[in-house]
């Protein structure tokens, strides 16, 4: 009758893999030149992984089809930027607005949390009317809200705060985490490890939420709203909570995107960005955190790095490879995506998580022994 928590080797293996990844990131960063495309991919990948997981929390675990992720990223990115641009640089950045309204700068970590909170606050307000809508209608309404947020942030009259539609820059970026000596040379590279740490902590929190009693309730809502309600789960509260938490982390993801890009502009946070993240979630497997993480790195690597050679003329000996010119990379990339969507419907991981991989291995070994 007793329920002892059994020692689970799969969990241990999974933890080990994660630790190894972090160690590898740290070591690689010290060894390879900082200019390597690998780090660009890793930084952006970590950012997208967090955003994808936050979207997965909504779409995959709560069953809320929301397409507002770009809007919340925008709020996060702007909040972060507005609060961290050094006072000395504000005159330059807010060139048309006399240095802007905010005349102080916050440290990075509180600003990140502010970014999340701002996004969550907006999510709360938007959620009040919107979360009562069902499936597709919810998707459209959230998409619409993201567009509205974008327009508001670009409004000239708010320029003193948001710099209107103009670019925001000079805020601390990932590269500012590198430790430099007096001559300005980098002695310890941390610019890739830091995004991994931020994303890692956030994703860990999301995973813990999913595995808590609240996470179970969210999954119950996804499986069957009516039954969930009949089991005493307040649909609206839980949806609202999930929406706010997802937006909170999307906000932090937005701030990370700002740190990665080193400049941000509301214009970039279009529905196309949301679609990109949705594709990452689907390719990884709806309902798998591990899948979202893996696929965001693959997605970023493909779109930014591995396929770049397709955009330029290539010669094999004297033979010029046909078709290769600017834009071909994107064609190949979209075809790959279509193949995944059509033929690998479950995505990379289905609904499996990292520990499940080791479990399965163990089982098959047992079968072999038997």
């Amino acid at each position: 009758m007793k329920t002892k928590k059994k020692f689970n080797p799969a969990m241990l293996w999974a933890a080990l893999v994660i630790v190894l990844v972090y160690v590898a990131v740290f070591i690689t960063e010290q060894l390879l030149p900082a200019s390597s495309m690998l780090f660009t991919v890793l930084k952006k990948g970590a950012t997208y992984a967090l955003v994808a997981v936050s979207m997965n929390l909504l779409n995959g675990f709560t069953g809320l089809f929301s397409l507002g992720q770009a809007g919340f990223m925008l709020i996060g990115a702007y909040t972060y930027a507005i609060f961290t641009i050094p006072v000395a640089d504000r005159m330059n950045v807010y060139q048309y607005y006399n240095g802007g309204l905010v005349q102080f700068a916050m440290p990075v970590v509180p600003a990140l949390i502010m970014a999340g909170l701002a996004a969550a606050l907006f999510a709360f307000l938007i959620g009040l009317p919107v979360l009562r809508l069902k499936s597709d209608y919810l998707a459209i309404a959230t998409l619409g809200f993201a567009e509205i947020i974008r327009a508001i942030f670009q409004w000239n009259k708010l320029g003193a705060l948001t710099n209107g539609s103009n670019i925001l820059r000079e805020f601390p970026t990932f590269n500012d985490f590198n430790i430099r000596n007096a001559e300005g040379e980098v002695t310890l590279y941390l610019s890739t490890l830091v995004p991994f740490l931020i994303a890692g902590v956030c994703i860990a929190l999301i995973v813990m939420l999913i595995n808590s009693t609240f996470g179970r309730s969210l999954r119950a809502i996804k499986d069957d709203e009516i039954a969930a309600e009949a089991m005493g789960i307040n649909l609206f509260h839980h949806k609202q909570m999930s929406f706010c938490i997802s937006s909170f982390f999307a906000g932090i993801g937005g701030a990370m995107l700002a740190m990665y890009q080193s400049t941000i502009q509301a214009k970039a946070f279009t529905s196309a960005m949301t679609y990109e993240i949705l594709l990452i979630v689907v390719i990884g497997g709806i309902g798998s955190v591990t899948g979202s993480c893996i696929s965001s790195f693959l997605f970023v690597a493909c779109s930014e790095w591995w396929l770049r050679f397709l955009d330029q003329k290539q010669m094999i000996g004297n033979f010029e490879v046909p078709l290769l010119r600017n834009g071909f990379r994107l064609v190949v990339f979209s075809i790959i995506i279509m193949i995944v969507v059509l033929f690998f419907r479950q995505g990379i991981m289905g609904t499996k998580e990292l520990p499940d991989l080791f479990k399965r291995k163990k089982k098959s070994q047992q079968e072999v022994k038997a």
Partner: protein, 307 residues
């Protein structure tokens, strides 16, 4: 006052007509497959590109027009067969993602083919001409669009209400599985829907691009999204709803663009508030309001969950 508002109204009606032709494609597909066909706006754009290339190849205009219609219809049909049909039993989300994937693919293909440069749409002599009505100058196409839209919609409604395939369409949209059991050939009904949708998108694209003269791979995104909003606004699944929604959205959007000057002339505001920034956002705000007040749109049918 009338003189101030009228030009915006005129533009709004024209834009609304163009949205309407695209919106019908969205609404019909949704009605039958419960799928938001995100690629529809891109089919519209591809129709524009096809026309550009056909015209550049030196074919006479009438032939280019016919071939454009034909090719667009084939593309629409092919998209359904390749990207949606294999997913018929898959969850709704998968098929929607597939639509996003198709949209992505079409845009990137066009980007590759055109090299990302604006393509100039051929001028069609009669409808590109300027006319003046009630003191407002406009292109002929502005007047032609709403009229043509209404004619096509009336024809379509006749088709749906009075032909066998129309009846099949209505049946399928009411109950997918039952109508399948009743011996309706689901696939041909769906294909017909896509063919009609693509045909109207091609017509819409001709009117639209004659008006705006350039086509680029992203040309379909905004009109597509707006038309879709219009379809939802009017009650997705309802053709008259889509048309009414499209006209409302088109007019509102253009009134917002001119709202500053209208308020200024009416003496309500003293300075320019930059409200034109919200022309797109307002469309969505309108949509959200209608969804909250009447979740299934203006003409949508109410559905209840069975417990």
């Amino acid at each position: 006052m009338f003189n101030t508002v009228f030009p915006y109204l005129l533009t709004g009606i024209s834009v609304g007509g163009q949205y309407a032709l695209i919106a019908i494609g969205y609404t019909m597909v949704y009605g039958i497959l419960r799928l938001i066909n995100f690629a529809h706006g891109d089919v519209f754009m591809v129709a524009g590109i096809v026309m550009v290339y056909l015209n550049a190849s030196g074919l006479p205009l009438w032939l280019s027009v016919l071939l454009t219609l034909l090719i667009t219809v084939v593309i629409g049909f092919a998209i359904e067969r390749v990207a949606y049909k294999p997913l018929r039993t898959a969850p709704r989300m998968s098929i929607m993602i597939s639509a996003i994937g198709v949209s992505y693919t079409l845009q990137n293909l066009v980007l590759y083919i055109t090299g990302g440069l604006n393509q100039f749409y051929p001028k069609v002599s009669f409808i590109s001409d300027s006319v003046t009505i009630f003191g407002a100058s406009t292109k002929m196409v502005t007047l032609v669009t709403p009229i043509l839209t209404v004619i096509l919609v009336v024809a379509l409604v006749q088709l749906i209400n009075h032909t066998k395939i129309g009846m099949a369409m209505r049946a399928v949209s009411k109950d997918f599985e039952t109508s399948q059991l009743m011996g309706i050939k689901i696939n041909s009904v769906i294909s017909t829907t896509f063919i009609i949708g693509s045909f109207l998108a091609a017509v819409g694209s001709m009117l639209y691009f004659t008006n705006y003269n350039t086509v680029i791979q992203t040309s379909g995104a905004m009109p597509g999204l707006k038309a879709f909003v219009a379809a939802v606004f009017g009650g997705i699944g309802s053709i008259p709803g889509a048309v009414v929604g499209a006209f409302i959205i088109g007019i509102c959007e253009n009134i917002i663009k001119g709202l500053d000057i209208i308020l200024f002339k009416a003496g309500i505001t003293k300075q320019n508030l930059g409200l034109a920034t919200f022309s797109d956002a307002f469309t969505f705000a309108l949509l959200i309001v209608i969804l909250i007040v009447k979740p299934t749109g203006l003409f949508g049918e109410k559905t209840t969950d069975k417990v």
